[in-house]
């Protein structure tokens, strides 16, 4: 039986069903949460949320953990990173990945030289005491960008490390 809460409202029905909405929301579960927590957030029944969450566990998108007799769901970060590495290998030439990696590293080197710091944390710390608002904003922007590049570099490097092997694995049989 379908409860009223599970029915799509008119506007969203055209673009996204409740199930699709739960699936999109599930990708944001960085902290382990129960099915009923996600059900409240997405305005569906706990049963519906659990159905989609369990499917995503089967598909290795989410993983579960038990806590206080409850099942909690969160994104399987290891599998998400492997998928990310595979899509970089499949969608980009080795040269593109190499150029991008070099360019990310060069930007970080430039920031280190320009501000005489070694980490984005040190750059953020250097903001204290600055009065020029434009410079404060600039350093904050760079620190945010730097932190992101620090995260991306290992992913791109992992894609390059096994690029040839992945290309062979990805070839379609003749």
């Amino acid at each position: 039986m379908t409860s009223d809460r599970d029915r799509d409202d008119g506007r969203t029905q055209a673009s996204m069903t409740r199930g699709e909405r739960v699936r999109a929301a599930a990708r944001t579960l960085r902290t382990p949460r129960t099915a009923s927590w996600l059900a409240t957030e997405t305005d569906v029944s706990a049963k519906t949320a659990k159905k989609y969450l369990d499917q995503l566990v089967e598909d290795n998108v989410l993983r579960t953990t038990e806590q206080g007799g409850q099942t909690l769901y969160c994104v399987d970060q290891l599998m998400a990173t492997y998928r990310e590495v595979a899509s970089l290998q499949r969608d980009h030439h080795r040269e593109e990945l190499t150029d991008s990696l070099e360019s990310m590293r060069a930007r970080i080197t430039d920031w280190k030289d320009e501000y005489d710091v070694e980490t984005p944390g040190e750059l953020r710390a250097s903001i204290a005491g600055l009065e020029d608002r434009a410079e404060v904003e600039r350093r904050r922007d760079i620190a945010g960008e730097w932190e992101h590049l620090d995260d991306r570099i290992p992913v791109v490097r992992a894609a390059l490390n096994e690029y040839e092997w992945a290309t062979k694995r990805d070839a379609l049989p003749a």
Partner: protein
């Protein structure tokens, strides 16, 4: 932008899914590219806005970051035809307005106001913002500029 915290590509995939299904949005891409993936940029069909705009497609930029369990984000719309931009930001720029604020920037008029969302899930916040932007804010802001 300068939001604190780190980006999670998996979360961006969920947000991209929401954007791609929203009727007035015609294209969604990673910026500066799919390798670096710093933020998402959606292009809006100017002829499907109420009221219609044009000729340039307005853009909607979404950057989402996480510092421990806290979300920081900017969902920012810019229409060069109408000469304004506005957005929902959760950052440290306006502590007097609380964690989240709406801001409307225009050479003559402009405003900042506090905002509260019932939901915590990024995709649900984005749905709420898209509804408010296209159904309420754009029609009323366009009539004031």
């Amino acid at each position: 932008m300068g939001l604190p915290g780190t980006i999670d590509s998996s979360v961006y995939e969920g947000l991209k899914d929401v954007l791609q299904r929203y009727p007035v949005i015609t294209a969604v891409a990673y910026e500066p590219d799919r390798i670096v993936k710093q933020f998402l940029r959606a292009r809006v069909d100017p002829s499907r806005l109420v009221p219609p705009s044009g000729p340039e497609p307005p853009t909607l930029d979404i950057e989402w970051r996480f510092l421990e369990n806290e979300s920081y984000y900017r969902i920012h719309y810019a229409d060069s035809n109408a000469g304004f931009n506005c957005g929902w930001h959760r950052d440290d720029d306006h502590p007097e307005l609380g964690p989240v604020h709406f801001q409307f920037d225009h050479p003559v008029t402009g405003e900042r106001e506090p905002v509260h969302f019932e939901q915590c899930v990024p995709t649900e916040i984005l749905w709420t913002v898209l509804d408010r932007l296209f159904e309420e804010r754009i029609p009323s802001l366009t009539s004031t500029v």
